[in-house]
Symmetry: C2
C-alpha cells in the first residue's frame, strides 16, 4: 500500500546509519566507519576486556513519553554503570535498536544527541550496531566494552569479613524522580521546591554513574558492583556470591537534600529508597587498611563516598540495621527485571 | 491482581539464570558463572577481538509460532555468520532476551537447548546476559565476540579489480524455506518431495553459516562479508565500500537441488533467490593467485565454494549478468531491516 511521502522519513537502514550512527563512531577506528559487519577491538597491551549488556524497553525501563535524548543517554549510562562497578574504563559499545515506527529526523536527532552527550561523559564511542523495526515498544540493547589492566577487574565475589562497605553518591533519587513523574502532586505535598524536583527527575532520566571512582576501586576495593536494582538487593547479592554476611546501617545511607526532604515529609520511607532501584551508583567493599586511600582517591576525583557498614562472616547473616541496631524487614529487596514489568 | 499459581512459572530473574543460562556459560571462565555484572574477556596473546551485534524479533526475523529451539539457534547463528564473514573464530557471546510473558520451563528448556546446540556447532559460549519482560514481541539481541590474529580481520572494503568472487554453500534456500511456510501448497506445485521441503525449511529455521571457511578467508581472501540481506544487495555493498565495480554471472550462482527444482517449476525466479536474504553464507573476493589455495582449503574443510564473478574497476559498475551477458534488472536488491518489517 503506498504511503504519503514524509519529508522527515528515513528511507533505509543505510541512510539512517550514515546520518545518525556513523558520527557517533567517528572517533573509534575499530568501528570502521560502521561500513563493515563487525568492529575490530584491539585491547591495549597488558589490558583485558570487560563486557556487559543491558537493554532498556519503553514502558519497562523508561516512560513511553520520555524525550528521546534521555532514552539515548540512559541506554548507555546503565551499561557504563556496570563497567564502572567492575573498575573498568569504558572503551566502546555496540547498540541494537528496535524502532516501533518509522522515526522522523527530529526524533533520531534527539536520540543521537543524547547518546553523543553520554559518550562524552563516559569516554567511549559507538563501535557497531543493528537497527530494526519492531511491532513492539522501542527497545535499545547495548553491549558495553571496557578495559582493565590484566588481572585487575574488581569482582563481586571477593568481599571479605572485616571489609568496610561504601556506597557512592546518594541513594533513592532516581526512584523519587520516577515517583514524581507518576504523581506530580508529590512534590508539593513534600514541600519540594522546583530545583529539588528537577534534580530528582534528572536522576531518573539521565543517571550519571560515577566515572571518578574507577581508579579508586581498582586500587583499593576488594569487591564491588553497581547498584541498579536497589541497594538492599544488590548488597544481598554481593554477600551471597562472596560467601559472607554483612550489615548496612540504614542511618548511614547517604540521601540527597531532596531525598531527605521527601522522607522527612512522609512522601517515601527510607526503605523505599533502599529498595527502589535505578541508582546507578557503586557498592564497594574495602579492606580497613585501604579505607583512607579509597576515600582520598574518590574524593579527589569528585566522587562522594559513604561508609555504610561492614562485611561480616557468613554466619552473621545479611542485614540492614535501623538506628538502634535491629534488623529491618523489607517486603521487597529491589527491582526484578523479570517479575517487575513496568515503570508506566 | 493475584494470578493462579503455575508450577512451571519461573519466579525471578536469578532462578532463570541459574537454571537455564548458567549451564550455557559453564565452559567459559570469563563468564564468572554469570554471578557478576560483566564478563572478563582476555584475548589470547597476539589476537584481536571482532565484535558484532544483531537482534532477532518475533514476527520480523522469525515466525511468531517458531519453535523456541530454532529461535535460540538462529539468534546465535546470525551473529556467528558475521564473525565468519570477517575470518574470525567465535569465542563468546552476550545475550539480552526480552520475553513477552512469563515463560514456562518447557519453553525455556527448548530455547536454551537450541542455544546449546548452536554453541556446540559454532564453538563459543555464553559469557553474560540480561533478561527482561517486554509488552512487545520476543526479542533476542546477541553480541558475538570472535578473535583473529592481530591485523588479520578480513574487511569488506579491500576487494581489488581482478579478484575472483566466490560464494559459499547455496543461495536462496532460506528464502524458499520461508516461502514454503507461508504457502504450504508451493511444495506440491513445484514437485518438491518431503525431504527437499524439509531441507529448505531447515535452512530458514536453523541456518548453518560455514565455520569451515574461516581459515581459508584469513589466508586467501582480499575481502569478505556474510550474505544475510541478499546476494545482490550484499555484493553491491562490498563493491561500494571497496570502491570497485564487479559482476556476478547469475548462471554460476550455486543453487541446491531443491532450489533448482523450485525455479525449474516456476515457484520462484533466480532473481528471487538472489535477493531474498537470510542466506548466512559468505561472499569473498580472492586474488587470482590465491584462488587455487582458497578452493583447496575450503573444500578440505567441508565448505563448497563457487566462483561466481569478478571484481572490476569502479567505472564498469556493479552488475548481475544473465546467461548472454546482459545486466539483469531487479525491483529490489535485498532485505532492508528497516524498510521490510515482517516475515509473518
Amino acid at each position: 500500500m503506498p504511503r504519503a511521502p514524509n519529508p522527515d522519513e528515513i528511507g533505509c537502514e543505510e541512510a539512517l546509519i550514515g546520518e545518525f550512527w556513523a558520527p557517533l563512531a567517528a572517533a573509534f577506528p575499530g568501528a570502521l566507519g560502521l561500513d563493515d559487519d563487525a568492529a575490530l577491538i584491539a585491547p591495549p597491551e597488558g589490558r583485558e576486556l570487560v563486557v556487559t549488556t543491558d537493554a532498556i524497553i519503553a514502558g519497562v525501563h523508561f516512560l513511553p513519553d520520555e524525550e528521546p535524548g534521555a532514552v539515548g543517554w540512559k541506554a548507555l549510562a546503565v551499561n557504563v554503570s556496570d563497567l564502572i562497578g567492575k573498575g573498568a574504563d569504558p572503551l566502546a559499545y555496540v547498540m541494537s535498536v528496535a524502532l516501533p515506527s518509522t522515526p522522523d529526523r527530529s526524533w533520531l536527532r534527539s536520540f543521537a544527541d543524547g547518546l553523543a552527550a553520554a559518550q562524552k561523559e563516559f569516554a567511549c564511542s559507538l563501535a557497531g550496531g543493528d537497527t530494526d523495526r519492531t511491532p513492539g515498544p522501542l527497545t535499545v540493547s547495548i553491549t558495553a566494552i571496557g578495559t582493565v589492566p590484566a588481572g585487575r577487574m574488581v569482582l563481586r565475589s571477593t568481599a571479605r569479613p572485616g571489609d568496610r562497605i561504601y556506597v557512592t553518591g546518594t541513594i533513592g533519587d532516581a526512584f523519587l524522580g520516577l515517583a514524581l513523574r507518576r504523581d506530580p502532586g508529590l512534590g508539593a505535598r513534600c514541600k519540594l521546591d522546583d530545583a529539588a524536583g528537577s534534580y530528582l527527575a534528572q536522576q531518573f532520566r539521565r543517571p550519571r554513574p560515577p566515572m571518578g571512582v574507577i581508579a579508586a576501586l581498582r586500587t583499593c576495593a576488594s569487591a564491588s558492583m553497581d547498584i541498579s536494582d536497589g541497594l538492599v538487593k544488590d548488597f544481598e547479592r554481593l554477600c551471597r556470591v562472596s560467601g559472607t554476611g554483612g550489615h548496612i546501617a540504614a542511618a548511614r545511607v547517604p540521601l540527597s537534600p531532596a531525598g531527605s526532604t521527601v522522607v522527612a515529609n512522609g512522601g517515601a520511607t527510607l526503605a523505599d529508597l533502599m529498595t527502589g532501584g535505578e541508582d546507578y551508583q557503586v557498592l564497594a567493599t574495602v579492606p580497613e587498611a585501604r579505607a583512607g586511600e579509597f576515600e582520598t582517591l574518590s574524593t579527589a576525583a569528585g566522587v562522594k563516598v559513604a561508609h555504610v557498614g561492614s562485611i561480616e562472616s557468613l554466619a552473621t547473616g545479611v542485614t540492614i540495621r535501623d538506628a538502634v541496631g535491629n534488623a529491618m524487614a523489607f517486603t521487597r529487596s529491589g527491582w526484578d527485571h523479570f517479575r517487575d514489568t513496568s515503570v508506566s
